[in-house]
Amino acid sequence: MKSITATNDFVVKFANVNGSGSASANEMFAKSILRMGVPVSPRNIFPSNIQGLPTWYEVRVNERGWLGRRGGVDLMVAMNPQTWDADIAEIEPGGYLFYDSTRPLPKSKFRDEVRTLGMPITDICNATYDDPRQRQLFKNIIYVGALSVLLGIEADVIETLIGEQYRSKPKLYEPNVKALHIGRDYAQRNFSAEPIGLAVRRADAVGDRIFVDGNDAAALGCVYGGATVCAWYPITPSSSLAEAFQKYCAKYRIDPDTGAHRYAIVQAEDEIASIGMVTGAGWNGARAFTTTSGPGVSLMTEFIGLAYFAEIPVTIIDVQRGGPSTGMPTRTQQADLISCAYASHGDTKHVLLFPQDPLECFEFAVQALDLADRLQTPVFVMTDLDIGMNQRLCAPFAWDDARTYDRGKVMTAAELEAGKDFGRYKDVDGDGIPWRTYPGTHADKGAYFTRGTSRDPYARYSERGPDYLYNMERLLKKFETAKTLVPQPLPHKAAQPTKLGVIHFGSTAPAMEEAIDMLECDGVHLDTLRVRAFPFADAVAEFIAAHERVFVVEQNRDAQLRSMLVNEFGIDPARLVPVLHYDGTPITARFIAGAIARHARGAHATPQPAQAANA
């Protein structure tokens, strides 16, 4: 069997044990390739566990810049005996296996069509280090050294990264560089005679892009967007967002004169309390947000209805994971759309934003804070584990210093004093958005009673039918207004005119772009539309109307976005073909292209969902 040969286009997967210190070495491996100008997109695959269970780190190297998960593994770095059999089985025919050969393994444990590269890492470590902790930790950097020789990654690039990592602990620099070279020397002595077919070659395909995870980016967006109150309850995969907000605030939100904090972060007792605090802070004129995942949203729903009906700005960042219930807490999905869009009892509808990558996590977090104030309503940023917890290459963050915060329609003491009429729930501007006052504004004007019960336009308790209808219809009008304020959908035209279209959103974007490229090579042309918010802009309905068949690609079982499109536009469901991937792994271009190609050729009359294969 011929071994795979590929330059700047392959997948390396590390199989490790959780808590063994592999994460930082693996990240250094990925970053060294980036520093050589070659795009990578790594993904953590980890269990709901702190120590001892298997964890994987999959790095896709791709000079063309495809950042979606590819599927398949060309080089497996098998460091976990527990998962050995499954890891070996996953290697593509003609691929490579790098492993710790200290303990001899029977031939039956290997595959003929996979080339093995054994290195006695444990032996080397035991001979070099006395301290058991060091023996474990340096194993990781030693294998990075060996891989760097196998793949042609420059040593000084990794040395620079080690220097950056240990800038504040210079004592650790030397031993790490030494370990790196132990690995390199071994590989040069033992593997150079017969180089492998995979190689990294210097390129110029990264540009000025940054490498960051979506949770970090969204947290930074909350800092830039002026959030001062954050209330949260720990839940994977959202916790690192609140923690990153804490980290950035400690750096950028300290009063230089007094050292006092220009922020308040409360780890609440549960998600009901966190949304309650955000509601209280929003009511009282502070920008506030919470971050959570599916189960947290479920707990928050009563408050979300209150904030909708009483018209209080609230920003919720939902980092979606696999549901229902505890589901797959460390796997990715886009399965909270319906539970967020229509969260709470009674007739409710909420604004959702769908970021595709960390840059949009940053931008949409800022925008959500503005929209919540402008619209006086809950706004969700619907990210997911794939974007949130994996570092992703994206365009750099940008900020215009002339930008100010849109605090929406807030009546001031001066306006009240001047006699401006204040009807808290009155539509005076024709956009459905009423004016509000902050508590404590004026001695005898502008106070009102906020409640979840029905009221008249002057906030007076009323169960009169006409008052209730006025209010509910005004809320609908406000939702119409929201349509024009939210991020608009982004269309992309196929190379030639086509009757086929694709709608997708959020973290599906990189796999989608690649799938379109694959399909185009196969002669299947599709226009695409990336939906970036709910309520859907009219352009979404126009896109559907302009195509005979539209595929709706999403990462959930029940075609939730499709249901919402059918529901909101009253579209014939037969026009929308679901393409659904929901096994917890990030969707791949291979999966999308396969599903669409089958349908495009088969021309089914009624849509059959393209089910998740184990891709």
Binding site: A260, A264, M277, W283, G285, W399, G440, A447
Partner: protein, 351 residues
């Protein structure tokens, strides 16, 4: 039902406070509660306390949960912003509001169902965080608004109007608050304004989490023989540990009481609480002694009222979080946004 405004005719003989406001300026809409409901008496005490303290009404934010008790913020302080939140969740909303603007006075009103059942978690955590608030539980031992089911504060053996005896152990909010670290803990009785008004004034002047559990008979569902939250029972079993005078900052000290029976506590704002001890053994600065005292008397079926505990050196949540002196809701982009140059540096570190 629509709302009813209260006619605002100022009687010339009505006394004015330091701000020139009469008591009418602290009133709200006309109550829709049952005539004789203890909750209305508590509203009257709140009005009286705020008037006597000469608080600017609009500097108060009044928040509540859901229940007859939680409706009452509509019936006092008509010039204050109010927020009738969801059942049992007033504490979190109040916490968020207090974080947003530390300069307002936060008054939380709740019921025993609201705080001791559905909202127990939030009650507990708001108190242990030391949110700067006056938290009043209007405690009638039943769910008034849903027509008389037992609440979690109903005493074991207490009999409902329908004749059913409560078999569950009661939750004592005062005992809990003491254990949770509340820095001002009192119990009052809606029928005793003389004691209640100064307790409310002391709580408002206090910096930190102040809880007042006010026994407030429900005339519709829990004011019969067999109820331990009835007017009659409380009047008979009330063991008042002290009476309180509230002395505002810089006001003249009135005639002294006999030494040994009076102690004074000075709060952060310079106001003083003068306690006339009815029980010589009672020391409101000793948390553990207070817990013992309350429990011992509870075991005898006595309802201990008065200021049970106060820590005048307490810190509040803002102090714990180290927030700036200016209200967070007043900070603008210049104070909050790190700007483009910093973002460029952040970008550079992410390559």
């Amino acid at each position: 039902m629509t709302y009813i405004t209260k006619p605002k005719l100022h009687h010339p003989s009505l006394a004015c406070n330091a701000l020139g406001f009469t008591r009418r300026d602290y009133e709200g809409k006309i109550s829709t509660l049952c005539a004789g409901c203890g909750h209305d008496s508590i509203s009257a005490s709140i009005i009286r306390a705020c008037w006597e303290l000469a608080i600017e009404p609009h500097r108060v934010a009044k928040l509540s949960g859901i229940g007859c008790s939680s409706k009452t913020p509509d019936y006092f302080l008509g010039q204050s912003h109010g927020f009738n939140t969801v059942h049992g969740r007033m504490p979190s909303v109040l916490t968020g509001a207090a974080l947003a603007n530390r300069d307002l006075i936060y008054l939380g009103v709740s019921g025993d169902g609201d705080s001791a059942s559905i909202g127990m978690g939030q009650f507990v955590h708001a108190i242990r965080r030391g949110v700067n608030m006056t938290y009043i539980v209007e405690n009638n031992g039943v769910y008034g608004l849903t027509k008389g089911q037992f609440s979690a504060t109903a005493d074991a053996g207490s009999v409902s109007k329908k004749g059913v005896a409560n078999s569950d152990a009661p939750i004592d909010l005062v005992g809990l608050a003491l254990q949770l670290g509340a820095s001002y803990v009192a119990r009052g009785f809606s029928g005793d304004k003389q004691q209640l008004v100064p307790l409310i004034k002391g709580a408002i002047a206090h910096r930190g989490a102040a809880l007042i559990d006010v026994i407030s008979p429900c005339v519709a569902f829990n004011n019969h023989a067999g109820s331990t939250k009835s007017y009659e029972y409380v009047r008979e079993h009330n063991d008042a540990v002290n009476r309180l005078d509230f002395i505002a900052p810089r006001t003249e000290i009135v005639a002294d009481y006999a030494p040994g029976e009076t102690i004074e506590i000075e709060q952060h704002d310079g106001s003083r609480l003068r306690l006339h001890k009815l029980d010589a053994a009672y020391d409101p600065s000793d948390r553990i002694a207070a817990m013992n005292y309350v429990h011992a008397h509870q075991a005898k079926g006595e309802v201990v009222t008065g200021l049970l505990y106060v820590d005048e050196t307490a810190q509040d949540l803002h102090a714990h979080l180290g927030t700036v002196a200016a209200p967070l809701n007043s900070l603008d982009a210049a104070a909050l946004c790190p700007g483009a140059a910093t973002l460029d540096k952040i970008n550079a570190a992410l390559r």
